[in-house]
């Protein structure tokens, strides 16, 4: 894409020159703001252009009747059975079939950010309620989300809220609010944590709901970030949001999630300014981010390692597989991203940590099963993919499918190798295409987005 870069501001919009807007550009936007992209979605994005496509991603889209019915059925089943496996299947269904991919993608980000594990909470109802909050505020107001999380039942169970009492303050929640949810390490003192814990005392759970236990709340004077008063939890959160470190902390998260694994200081500062300017409203921040030259820079293309969700959900969406929700959710767990069960309070480290010898083998196994088997669901006739891409000859099939999956034109040498493998695969055209899919999905380059 010929996007002319206008000013020195890394978040300045990249301006289209000659109004060219390639399939790879469209795919880059769709994949970063969702999970994978079908040929049809890419075609539509190419037709509509960057701005219209982005508007569609940022604005709520109506879900189909079938989606609503099935999502409701799966959600009710999870509540009825009390099985976290059923809740995982529900969320996987949402990510796979929603018309609002960016919402689900942000919900996943907040799930990682406000990491809470069913392993300790042991309540499907509470985990589902927390997940709803992430979705409700996905593209909304981070301030509101942070406040809501401070009273979230699952969060309070996870961080021992009921142990935080007037005479014996428990610092778990206060520490994580500062370290993991708003400021990051080094941007608060131990004294701030101790005082903040006092402010959150009495924020308990009773009969499965948030309860302000007045008798256990410390009403004395506290000093947090140099501000003194009879501070309560809400006050502490507002003070955290006021700190300069807060928008920076959120900026780093967003940049690592959507743009580059190691964003430069200039970019972080610029995005932090945007977050502050928009008063923590996520939609306008993301709008600027997705229009920015930083997002469209060559260095940002295929720069992120696909998380297990990106890989599993994205591959199934792209290939329009009728997903086996249970098997797919299980695959996520094996690949290191078990929904509703992050490993620690820090969530998932992500990035290069997604790839190890073990997980690479598992990713290859996933590719093999997806392309050739039925374990993860039924794939439409592979030849249909070739037709959608307008690929007729053997060379076209190889090139087009590789380009579609890899998000770039394959190099000449790659094309030769893939063509040779395609030819050697044997069997009919369907078998060869399946073989080609399996090979491409297994490549190191496919693990990038």
């Amino acid at each position: 894409m010929n996007l002319k870069l206008r000013t020195d501001d890394p978040l300045a919009p990249a301006e289209p020159a000659n109004r060219s807007w390639t399939r790879h550009d469209a795919a880059h936007l769709l994949r970063r703001t969702g999970f994978g992209a079908t040929v049809t979605e890419i075609d539509r994005a190419v037709d509509e252009g960057l701005e219209a496509t982005l508007q569609r991603r940022l604005a709520p889209q109506p879900e189909s009747e079938e989606f609503d019915q099935v999502a409701r059925l799966l959600r009710n089943t999870a509540h009825q059975t009390g099985s976290i496996g059923d809740l995982k299947a529900w969320w996987f269904y949402r990510m796979r079939y929603t018309a609002n991919s960016l919402v689900e993608r942000m919900a996943l980000l907040w799930h990682d950010h406000f990491a809470t594990s069913y392993g300790k909470v042991q309540s499907v109802k509470q985990m589902a309620a927390q997940n709803d909050a992430f979705r409700r505020h996905a593209l909304g107001d981070f301030r509101e989300l942070l406040h809501e999380m401070s009273r979230d039942v699952a969060m309070l169970v996870w961080l021992d809220g009921n142990a935080n009492r007037k005479r014996h303050p428990n610092e778990n929640f206060a520490r994580e609010v500062m370290e993991l949810f708003s400021l990051g390490i080094g941007n608060y003192t131990e004294a701030d944590i101790i005082e903040a814990a006092r402010a959150f005392s009495g924020w308990h759970v009773r009969k499965g709901e948030f309860w302000f236990n007045e008798l256990q709340h410390d009403t004395g004077e506290k000093t947090v970030f140099g501000r003194t008063g009879n501070l309560n939890g809400e006050d502490v959160i507002e003070l955290c949001l006021e700190q300069p470190a807060c928008p920076r902390f959120i900026a780093v998260k967003l940049l690592r999630y959507f743009v580059q694994p190691e964003p430069q200081e200039e970019l972080v500062a610029a995005l932090a300014d945007r977050i502050r300017a928009h008063n923590f409203q996520i939609t306008p921040v993301l709008g600027e981010l997705f229009r920015s030259r930083a997002f469209w820079a060559e260095s940002s293309r295929l720069a992120l390692i696909k998380s297990p969700v990106d890989l599993v959900v994205g591959s199934q969406r792209s290939l329009e597989v009728r997903s086996n929700l249970n098997a797919s959710a299980e695959a996520l767990a094996k690949l290191g991203q078990d929904l509703f069960q992050p490993p620690t309070v820090k969530g998932w480290d992500g990035g290069r940590d997604w790839i190890s010898t073990t997980t690479m083998i598992l990713r290859i196994n996933f590719a093999t099963e997806l392309a050739g088997g039925e374990r993860f669901g039924e794939m439409p006739h592979p030849a249909a993919l070739a037709r959608q891409l307008g690929a007729g000859s053997r060379e076209e099939v190889v090139t087009q499918i590789a380009a579609f999956l890899l998000g770039r034109e394959p190099a000449t040498e790659e094309t030769h190798e893939l063509a040779a493998a395609y030819q050697q695969a044997g069997g009919d055209r369907t078998a060869r295409i399946r073989s080609l899919l399996q090979i491409v999905l297994s490549t190191p380059d496919y693990q990038l987005t």
Binding site: L73, N76, T77, H79, Q80, A89, V153, V205, E374
Partner: protein, 589 residues
């Protein structure tokens, strides 16, 4: 006085004699068909006899069940596969060649009488096979022979044609199967010699009292035991098989699964030492019955295996209480105490360490007691487990996932101490679950009690009655226990406990339980009701597995319809004086 009748009288006498003889012949022309087993040489170690499968096939063809299966979404999906297309193509070719459909082919060829038997071969793993089929349509057989002849010619060296001593043509395939079609009869065998023995046995001139399969001692015993006139009857000469193998027909002495051992160790040991066994299958208009008989007296096995069988004359497994909404259950006779003590006799070494963990875990629920020494000896030999539909009167609403109520009826050898021990278990379990309830933010139980039917019911009720239409699954449970006579009731609902107390007051069926080892029953209507109550969960499961929503709904509907076509299933086993019998019965509407 006449010395010699006049000619007229001689002629009349002759005429009368001839008339009498012809009438006698007319009656004699419709005798009982000769048992096919009489035509087989003696020494078979297994044989399968079939009779009148034609009407069964016709019944199946016209049945609502088959109609439903063919209309089901699964079958419609299968029809789109390449495998189905190939099968249909093969079927059409065959039907065109034979000028008849496969149902009619089955009815006319295999719908009459046939028998297949296995004889010892030169090597134990290569027995000889002999088959005799009495078709009901000689013309069709002739047509089949005419149609396959060209294919036999095409097979070249693989097919050898020959003529029997009687001059009947036959053919052999790869030297492994010899076949002769003579009129309405098909003879087939894996050796030429066996084929000729079959044919000579079928000679109407042959001596019916000559040695044959029908005169083999164990076959006769089996036939006496199970009777004639079954659609299918299988005979296994386990003595002969045992002699040719390891003496136990390959049946292991020890199993690697404790539950399998509890259920099957006794039966397997009996089979390993049994001289013969037989199985029959009967099909009626609205049901079927499979009966198996294993010769051998359970009390003649080594003492360690007596734990699986009631003593002769002893009352065996109890009858399953017929409570309202009964879905099904099973009852057994097992000396659990002795089984546990002697578990090393029945189980392979790798299955034993699990018991250490079991004892540790169960010890937490029975403080200060050892399961083997202090608990199992208190139990009697009879236990029943059952499931029944439940209402949810203990809730203001109902759970989302509606489970049946479950119950165990445990006979106690020492009612007083046994009841106290089980109550201890019950109370400790409730306390542990309440601690979990606190951690998970759900409603705990408090222990309460009531008197009912002369018994004292202890049960857990919710501190506050839960409200809602889709309550968590844990609210299906309202644990209850009671002692009635020497039976301890452990139930997941108070209502079920009350019903079992009522059932215990009703005099038991005197014929039930006699020498019975195991009894299982399943009621299709209530099973379907249980599934119906959870229809959405079943649909959700199908969707989770990748089925499209509409198809998921159709699949569940088809499953429920199929279950409702059934009435029930019952399996009973009993150890008689000289035999062990198993009977499986099913019925449909």
């Amino acid at each position: 006085m006449l010395r010699c009748p006049p000619r007229f009288f001689r002629h009349s006498l002759l005429l009368a004699s001839l008339t009498f003889c012809s009438v006698s012949v007319a009656f004699a022309e419709d005798p009982e068909p000769r048992p096919l087993a009489e035509r087989f040489p003696s020494g078979a170690f297994a044989c399968l006899e079939a009779e009148d499968l034609g009407p069964v096939a016709r019944q199946l063809q016209e049945s609502a069940l088959l109609e439903r299966i063919l209309a089901s979404p699964q079958y419609q999906q299968y029809r789109k596969t390449d495998q189905y297309q190939q099968q249909q193509a093969g079927r059409q070719i065959l039907e065109a060649q034979l000028r008849t459909d496969l149902w009619t082919l089955f009815e006319k060829v295999l719908g009459g009488r046939w028998i297949a038997a296995l004889y010892p071969g030169d090597q134990p793993q290569q027995p000889h096979l002999a088959v005799l089929i009495e078709a009901t349509d000689a013309e069709l057989l002739a047509l089949i022979q005419e149609r396959i002849d060209p294919f036999l010619d095409l097979a070249g060296d693989r097919v050898e044609r020959f003529e029997t001593p009687a001059g009947t043509p036959g053919f052999a395939l790869d030297g492994k199967l010899y076949v002769v079609i003579a009129g309405e009869t098909v003879f087939a065998a894996s050796t030429r010699d066996l084929l000729e023995q079959l044919q000579s046995g079928s000679d109407p001139e042959s001596d019916p009292s000559a040695a044959s399969l029908a005169t083999d001692e164990r076959f006769v015993a089996m036939a006496d035991q199970l009777g004639d006139g079954h659609e299918l009857r299988l005979f296994v000469d386990s003595h002969a098989i045992g002699a040719a193998t390891d003496g136990r027909m390959g049946i292991p002495e020890k199993l690697d699964n404790p539950l399998a051992s509890l259920l099957f160790s006794g039966l397997l040991e009996l089979v390993a030492h049994s001289p013969y066994a037989g199985v029959t299958v009967d099909v009626e208009e609205n049901g079927f019955a499979v009966a198996a008989s294993v010769a051998g007296a359970a009390h003649e096995l080594d003492e360690s295996h007596h734990v699986f069988f009631p003593s002769p004359g002893d009352a065996g497994a109890p009858a399953i209480p017929q409570v309202e909404g009964l879905i099904g259950g099973f009852a057994w006779y097992r000396n659990l105490d002795q089984w546990y003590r002697q578990r090393e006799t029945y189980l392979q070494p790798e299955a034993l360490p699990g018991f250490d963990q079991f004892e540790t875990n169960i010890g937490n629920l029975l403080p200060g007691r050892d399961i083997g020494e202090d608990v199992l000896p208190l139990l009697g030999d009879r236990m029943t487990f059952l499931a029944a539909l439940q209402n949810f009167d203990h809730l203001e609403g109902e759970p989302g996932l509606k489970l049946p109520g479950f119950a165990a009826v445990i006979e106690l050898a020492d009612p007083e101490e046994g009841a106290d021990t089980l109550r201890l278990f019950f109370q400790t379990l409730t306390a542990v679950l309440n601690l979990q309830a606190s951690a998970q933010g759900r409603e705990p139980w408090i222990m309460d009690s009531e008197s009912y039917g002369g018994a004292h019911i202890s049960y857990g009720r919710y501190l506050s009655t839960p409200e809602g239409d889709s309550l968590p699954v844990v609210f299906n449970f309202q644990p209850a226990s009671a002692l009635v006579g020497n039976q301890f009731l452990l139930c997941s609902s108070v209502d079920l406990c009350r019903e079992l107390i009522d059932a215990a007051q009703t005099p038991a069926d005197a014929t039930a339980g006699s020498s019975r080892c195991f009894d299982l029953e399943l009621h299709a209507a209530t099973l379907a009701d249980a599934f119906e109550k959870n229809r959405t969960v079943l649909e959700a499961r199908a969707i989770q597995d990748g089925t499209e929503p509409e198809r998921a709904s159709e699949d569940v509907a088809a499953l429920l319809e199929l279950i409702r076509m059934m009435q029930g299933l019952q399996l009973t086993t009993s150890a008689g004086e000289g035999t062990y019998e198993l009977r499986l019965q099913g019925s449909w509407k």
